[in-house]
């Protein structure tokens, strides 16, 4: 990394124009990866700095998948460095079930809270691919780029993730009421 050219003022300006509009997506993805709003901010900030350092290697194309891949790598590295594993699920679920705190009024509504808790409870592999597809609205091709996988693997992994989420959701919501899969 020390070999990469240092960004100059013009590069920073170009970065600001091309990448900064995707900060919401960067944070949103980090939020679901880390399941912690404070850690997510650190991951997002570090990812943006890395993205700036690697920006010379960005050859056009879609900025969002390019950034989200850096977010994922940053999170993997930060977790490896701190030696921290995913936090225990009970804690996550408790927190997700605490109810909308005033600053997250957007998470109002029982159903949405249950859905968020179900998604948060999934293992990382299932969670990240569902978030990329349904929250960040990435195509298979973009998901393949973020996760560095062939398209076929993206499809099979996505199908497995959906089955897992269906199980989680059924435990939290009435299946008939919401037309959930009866697989």
């Amino acid at each position: 990394m020390s070999e990469t050219p240092k960004p100059d003022g013009a590069t920073v300006e170009r970065f600001r124009a091309v990448m900064l509009p995707h900060l919401d997506a960067v944070y949103g993805f980090a939020r679901w990866l880390t399941r912690d709003p404070v850690v997510a901010q650190d991951v997002a900030q570090e990812a943006m700095l890395r993205a700036l350092r690697y920006f010379h290697a960005f050859r056009g194309g879609e900025p969002k998948p390019w950034l989200l891949r850096i977010v994922r790598n940053t999170w993997t590295d930060m977790r490896a460095k701190s030696g921290a594993n995913d936090r225990p699920l009970e804690e996550i679920e408790d927190r997700a079930a605490e109810g909308p705190d005033p600053e997250q009024s957007a998470l109002a509504g029982d159903r949405r809270r249950h859905v968020a808790a179900a998604l948060a409870a999934l293992p990382a592999e299932a969670r990240e691919i569902l978030v990329l597809r349904e929250v960040e609205d990435c195509s298979y091709k973009h998901i393949a780029a973020v996760l560095d996988l062939p398209i076929g693997t993206v499809m099979s992994r996505l199908a497995r993730a959906r089955e897992k989420l269906a199980v989680e959701l059924r435990g939290r919501l009435g299946r008939s009421e919401h037309g959930l899969p009866d697989m």
Binding site: L23, G28, D42, A44, A116, E134, V135, A159, P181, M183
Partner: protein, 252 residues
């Protein structure tokens, strides 16, 4: 199309990943296959639930932190001709003298106020979790003595846990060209940076303003000038100021 093929296509159809001709073929097959229709409906329902999740935009604090880094990188890289550089250094030197004079003559008596930018910078240093405090303690008897020898006054230190603002620790920062004590409090997941220094002027109740998404409060109480910055709501900032005043009064 037989059903296993049909099943395999449900997801791709839902995700809009089929070609126009494959989509049409799938739709025709669907009519003959109630199981796959059910599967499709279930998939739609789940996708709908996930898409109903509110998007959390990047917090203002994060945006400000990133902006700050970008500005710092762009600023540090600005090319400067050598001659120009020297002039800047000369100017900077005279500025240091001016600030020092201003400090002796002004800030000590509380007449020269700090710029909002500086206070926000102080908060930024506190808010970036890596190095929030130089002395980390919720115990005022640890934090207060730590300032001795580092700054030329002894700030009032109170833990405000009972009011919802636990003390995290303290640090020294430079505000208005002067080394000042900064106390760091926490409120839920937010930090509050309170810069404070002695003032001989009369008490003034807290005035809370918003700037760039930050709540800023300034007031004078019990011989100290207080400046608090945080990304909490203004009402919470007012509550913080009130809790601090109350704790100081109870101690007198």
């Amino acid at each position: 199309m037989d059903c296993p093929t049909c099943e395999a296509m449900v997801d791709a159809y839902l995700d809009g990943e089929l070609s126009a001709s494959d989509s049409a073929e799938f739709e025709r097959a669907l009519e003959a296959c109630p199981d796959c229709r059910k599967r499709l409906e279930a998939g739609r329902a789940m996708s709908g639930l996930l898409r109903e999740l509110p998007l959390e935009p990047a917090p203002d604090l994060l945006r400000a932190r990133v902006e700050r880094e970008l500005r710092a990188i762009a600023g540090a890289l600005r090319p400067a001709a050598p001659g120009r550089n020297m002039r800047w250094m000369a100017m900077a030197a005279s500025l240091i003298v001016a600030v020092s004079i201003g400090w002796v003559g002004g800030t000590l008596t509380g007449r020269v106020g700090p710029g909002d930018d500086e206070l926000v910078s102080t908060f930024m240093r506190v808010a970036s979790s890596e190095h929030a405090v130089d002395v980390a303690s919720t115990d005022r008897h640890t934090v207060k003595p730590w300032f001795a020898g580092r700054i030329d006054y002894s700030p009032p230190v109170h833990d405000l846990t009972s009011a919802g603002f636990p003390l995290e620790g303290g640090r020294v920062d430079v505000v208005g060209g002067r080394k000042v004590s900064v106390l760091v409090y926490r409120h839920n997941q937010h930090r509050i940076a309170l810069s404070l220094w002695p003032s001989s002027a009369a008490d003034v109740p807290a005035k809370v303003t918003m700037r760039d998404g930050f709540s800023m409060a300034e007031w004078r109480h019990a011989g100290f000038e207080m400046h608090a910055v945080s990304d909490i709501a203004p009402a919470e900032m007012s509550a913080f100021a009130a809790a601090l005043d109350k704790a100081i009064d109870a101690d007198r």
